[in-house]
Amino acid sequence: MAGLSGRLSTVVKAKISKMLDRAEDPSETLEYSYQKQMELLQNVKKGLADVVTAKKRLQLQSQKLEQQVVKLDTQARQALAAGNEALARTALERKSAVQAELQGLDGQIAELESQQQSMTDNQAKLQSKIEAFRSKKEVIKAQYSAAEAQVRISEAATGVGEEMADVGLAMQRALDKTENMRARAQAVDELEKAGAFEDLTQLGAGEDDIDRQLKELSSGSQVDGELERMKAELAAGGSSAGELGSGGEERQA
């Protein structure tokens, strides 16, 4: 066959063909293959629901982390205003870690969004193909001799079969990605449970495991820079700094 010298394409095509060859003669098992198509359609719908659930979970987490960023930023300012640079640094280190996590989450939400879109498209496309197959099958049977009809139905069945294999592949990839994201969402939940995002003011003075972990996550220079910026801001607006200072002292109580 012409045009099959491209090797990546050749490998993929060969594999999809092999998947199709495993099926029985499609013209003999039309009803069976129609049932298979319906099953696949059901699976796509289920897969879509999984993607939507995963996305909602990540969105909730993302909102929580955003609030956390604001809180840690405020706490850093308060600590600095109160003259506690070490605590301000800890807050900024946490903020930087939370921001990194947030960035990852946002990227994943966007990816799930596009997964959801393409699965919806795939579902619609598969449905149209199945409909086309069903009506074409009847037309072909009516118009052609038995032998000719068999060839034509076979070609149409190959088209549907390839579409099914492809939708199956798309769904598998979408679900694999969703699974990865679920693992990540779980990791964030666990960090939260371990107290990584706890209110800093409720922490003791001693450095715990979480602090050490977070420090490894956040880049020191970024924190240094932000600390300097905050100091400069505080120096510029002296009155508000005094006001915030009381917040920092509450922490000591």
Partner: protein
């Protein structure tokens, strides 16, 4: 000539464009073999863009097997590499 971008859909492509797709495909494979991820991603991206830009999407009520099936647009370098060691995108 009917080309499928796996996980995306089928396109009808003029025969003379197939040569360009194949050339990019072969170069992409060479990049994989050379371990050059950036080059692979660039070439593979060009290949997908070319098909999307020059091909006409096949109407949804047309049922044909494809002459060429290119891997999913989001194929990673690792996946492409594994594709040639047997445990790639599509299970054997």
């Amino acid at each position: 000539m009917i080309v499928r971008i796996a996980t995306e859909g089928q396109y009808r492509l003029a025969d003379d464009l197939i040569g360009r797709v194949n050339a990019l495909d072969n170069e992409a494979v060479a990049a994989v073999e050379a371990g050059d991820e950036a080059r692979f991603l660039d070439l593979f991206g060009q290949m997908i863009s070319l098909i999307r830009a020059e091909g006409a999407p096949l109407p949804e009520d047309e049922l044909h097997g494809s002459d060429v099936i290119v891997p999913p647009p989001d194929t990673s370098f690792d996946e492409a590499r594994h594709e040639f060691s047997g445990d790639g995108l599509i299970p054997d």
